[in-house]
Amino acid sequence: MSPFRGMLQRIWEYDRLANISEIARRYFAMNAFDGVLTIIGVLMGNLTAGVDNPKIVLSTGLATSIAMGVSGLWGAYLTETAERKRDLVELSSQTLTDLNDTRIGRASRVAAVAVALIDGLSPFLAALIVLTPFFATGLFPTLTWVYYTSLGIALLILFALGLFLGHISRGNLIIYGVKTVVAGIVSIIISLLLGE
């Protein structure tokens, strides 16, 4: 068996032992959703405050994205490690053996790292994608267009997340997509009213 195939088999085994896919899917959807809505908040705050310097929007947006990423990564790693260690200790007490150096122990550690990475990267990347128009403001006639394009991208990402959730739950994809987009629209409307 090639080393690559061996590695894939090990990952698949760890996934089965520690249920990584299910938890990762949940954290990905939840945190990407959080990331997009947070950045909508940053954009709307800048828009209603009349910020016309794209560098300010970019720096606040990037700082927020990085903070979300670090928060997700750190928080998820500490939480998952604590929970899985607790489960391992409980199982060890039932089997009367130390399970740290077994497949279950290794799967638990890999799961904590994998989930932390997804928890950190999903809001960071989602927010970064929303901010991409601000990296190329020269392509747009005015800064207002850049704002609107970013908000449009945010709503599209929310719709895509809804489709993803609909696919997982085997429900109506469009309905799920609309549900997630409505959250973004509500956030935009409330921010506009507050700005007024």
Partner: protein
Amino acid sequence: MGKTRRLVLDTLKPHEPSIIEMADQLSELYGIYAVNISIYEMDRKVENAKITIEGEDISYPIVLEIINEMGGAVHSIDEVVCGKQIIDDSATLQD
């Protein structure tokens, strides 16, 4: 030294990895012909399994290593057969 031909182990293991994987791993060891694992008791998190291994030269330390690595624990060695062939225990008047 005599060769171990049959081992019967009483083990306690978590539900995962499953007995299919454990049997598969054990059966791939050198000197083992066949592995039989049966569950005789099940709990919320663990299960008791009887592992029967037959072969021409079973290495108990390696078998133990694999069972431990999969999270299992050998509670007792219930039967062992060593020598040139497999024989069953003989009936006595006390049985």
